[in-house]
């Protein structure tokens, strides 16, 4: 049975950036509409079963109401199977769901969330291709796409019409290690060192609290902290290596100042002391003594003075469904052409 997974985070895009920066709030009802479009599009191209992460944030409840209305001439969807798990409304739900989808043989996982949600899926499961849909705040990793198209691309791969070589793209990530692996984590886009020592409201928006930014890729069009690298020295998502940027709060050490959109609606000057390429596999040791490592825009790991924090870029770390390429190949190879008579 052609099976894919679907993880939709009900709590992404709920943090303090709605107050300080007018960040968007994608309502639950719209998230469910996105899910419905994925389901119907995937069904159109042969996906038979979708494993869905249950939640207690409203997505499942609304989705159930949609599904209970039954199939119509306009809408059909695959078998929807909720994973057997008790939602905790924490990131643990995403970890567990990714694990269960792996065990149940999902060919790919569609993820609705921001950078943080995608990071959680990859942290748990690096070998199932993911297809991201942006519903978070600072979305450098998932692309802004119509979910119908993402659903179609995933179905083309899951149903075997496209091979892995055709449909998938390799991605980089950053591994974070504290005290030689006593604590480890990953970031998909940015690992940022902050002078804050508490996790607090999680988001980062004060340039004066940042001391270093490590980036797996840096797009000049990105929003969020990776924009600092993107506007300084762009590095493509598929290019080798990453970028390490040291910020300079001491005027004597400041080499230049850069205006960057560090959060939605916040274009701020950032003082840059130094930047350099990050070759894959080479650990970079954090100079700051004590602070917080923020992963993909959220403060996650506090460390003390004397702790040794290292960031290492990894290439070919996990696959994603390359939606644009899938659709291009589908067009070139006529995969969606039908006989002239129904």
């Amino acid at each position: 049975m052609t099976t894919i997974g679907l993880i939709a985070n009900p709590v992404s895009a709920r943090d303090i950036r709605r107050i300080i920066a007018n960040a968007s709030n994608l309502q639950i009802a719209d998230r469910v509409n996105i899910v419905m479009r994925v389901l119907t599009a995937a069904h159109s191209l042969g996906v038979e079963r979708v494993l869905v992460m249950p939640d207690s944030g409203g997505i499942r409840a609304l989705l159930q109401r949609h599904l209970a209305r039954g199939h119509s001439q306009h809408q059909r969807w695959p078998l929807v199977e909720y994973l057997d798990m008790q939602p905790t409304s924490t990131v643990e739900d995403t970890f567990l769901a990714a694990r269960l989808m792996h065990d149940k043989g999902a060919a790919a996982i569609v993820v609705l969330g921001g950078d943080g949600t995608h990071r959680a899926v990859v942290r748990e499961c690096r070998d199932i291709p993911i297809a991201g849909l942006s519903t978070g705040t600072n979305n450098a990793f998932p692309e802004m796409r119509e979910s119908t198209i993402t659903g179609m691309a995933v179905a083309l791969y899951a149903s075997g019409r496209l091979s892995a070589a055709q449909a998938l793209a390799p991605n980089k990530l950053l591994e974070v290690s504290i005290n030689e692996g006593a604590q480890t984590d990953i970031a998909l886009v940015d690992a940022v060192i902050s002078t804050d020592r508490y996790i607090g409201a999680r988001a980062l928006w004060k340039p004066e609290a940042l001391s270093a930014v490590y980036l797996s890729f840096a797009d000049p069009q990105a929003i969020g902290l990776s924009a600092i690298g993107g506007l300084l020295q762009p590095v493509g998502r598929r290019d080798p290596g990453g970028l390490a940027v040291t910020l300079g709060h001491d005027p004597a050490a400041t080499r230049l100042r850069l205006l960057a959109p560090i959060a939605p609606g916040m274009v701020r000057p950032v003082a840059i002391a130094h930047w350099q390429a990050m070759p894959a596999g080479q650990p970079f040791t954090v100079a700051q003594q004590g602070g917080v490592v923020a992963l993909d825009g959220e403060r996650e790991l506090a460390f003390d003075p004397g702790d040794r924090v290292q960031i290492t870029l990894r290439e070919n770390a996990f696959p994603t469904v390359d939606v644009a390429r899938c659709m291009q190949i589908a067009a070139c190879e006529g995969l969606l052409r039908l006989p002239s008579t129904p």
Binding site: V11, I16, R18, G200
Partner: protein
């Protein structure tokens, strides 16, 4: 040299801990004394929810007003109401915050900007709008905060207040203290739109969700929201996801909760434990400094109970005082 790791200086951290610990011990003592039949009326305890009350209210002055709920003791203590007078009030004695005539669910201290607990669910929200309108006219940068539970957030008064505050651009902050249960009804069952942020958006207000068991998360988010409101930025909603250590009311058998749920949240989601771990882990405050506060708080609560028990009851003559009509 590492940067100082907290948004508050050490004396303010110690004060925040003292207030949270005072709320905890006040409530735990009421839990015991109520079961002995010492206390008239009903009490609803705030234990487990302290980080939200103190994280938000700790940033207010006496000119800022709060409209509390039926679960109001924590809001009172966070707002600086005297715990000795509070205990007398809850015991129904003279010398209480309201002369012993209000009790747990009508406890108030206007001198501190505590407009009152409220036995009517959702009734505090329009009162906060009134206080917000007054603050807007006074132009001193004051704010009003409406506390509401996840259950009372379904009340029409609350929803109308969101609209009113948005239309008049009032300096009002709506805090949804989401402890997961509307009395005994799970939020999953009783709230159609599970996201309070979505609800706020429906009225044109920005909304934020934070971990209400993390003092620093609440403090930071509330600080930004309060600053925005003081500056004329208008109303906002803050959802604090939190836990309730006790039942809806004292005497609630809590058969609607999963077995082991309370042990689990006391072990893993205790906001006081999280706060203590953060400040001692960073080396800013020692465990013995916190222990000293714990002892002082226990002494204070003991004294409050002794004084409350010894205080006289209000007399018949007190019936005609503190009322609008002059007799």
């Amino acid at each position: 040299m590492a940067a100082y790791p907290f948004p508050l200086e050490k004396p303010a951290l110690l004060e925040a801990y003292r207030r949270m610990r005072t709320i905890r011990e006040f409530e735990e003592r009421l839990h015991v004394d109520f079961s002995r039949g010492d206390i008239p009326g009903f009490v609803h305890l705030y234990a487990g929810e302290e980080a939200a009350g103190v994280g938000i209210i700790g940033q207010l002055g006496d000119g800022d007003r709060i409209a509390s709920t039926h679960r109001g003791h924590g809001h009172c203590i966070a707002k600086g109401v005297d715990p000795l007078a509070m205990m007398k009030e809850i015991y129904g004695k003279k010398g209480g915050s309201c002369g012993g005539k209000g009790g747990s669910m009508h406890i108030a201290d206007l001198s501190k900007g505590m407009m009152g607990a409220n036995g009517i669910l959702g009734a505090g929200a329009p009162l906060a709008c009134g206080a917000g309108l007054a603050a807007k006219y006074r132009k001193k940068g004051e704010v009003a905060i409406s506390f509401v539970g996840d259950g009372a957030s379904n009340q029409g008064t609350f929803l109308e207040s969101l609209n009113l505050a948005a239309v008049w651009n009032l300096p009002v902050i709506f805090v949804v203290e989401n402890n997961g249960y509307a009395e005994s009804t799970s939020r999953d069952y009783g709230v159609a739109v599970d996201s309070y942020v979505d609800r706020a958006a429906g009225f044109g207000l920005p909304g934020v969700t934070v971990d209400g068991t993390d003092f620093f998360a609440v403090h930071e988010a509330a600080g930004e929201i309060i600053r925005r409101a003081r500056g004329g930025g208008g109303p906002a909603l803050l959802e604090c996801k939190m836990v309730r250590f006790h039942g809806h009311f004292e005497g609630d058998a809590q058969t609607y909760r999963a077995s082991g749920e309370i042990d689990d949240i006391r072990a893993n989601q205790d906001c006081l434990k999280k706060f203590a771990a953060a400040v001692t882990g960073a080396g800013v405050i020692t465990a013995s400094e916190l222990t000293a506060i714990d002892h002082e708080v226990l002494d204070l609560i003991e004294r409050a109970v002794v004084e409350a028990k010894a205080a006289p009851l209000p007399t018949a003559a007190d019936l005609t005082t503190d009322v609008y009509v002059s007799y």
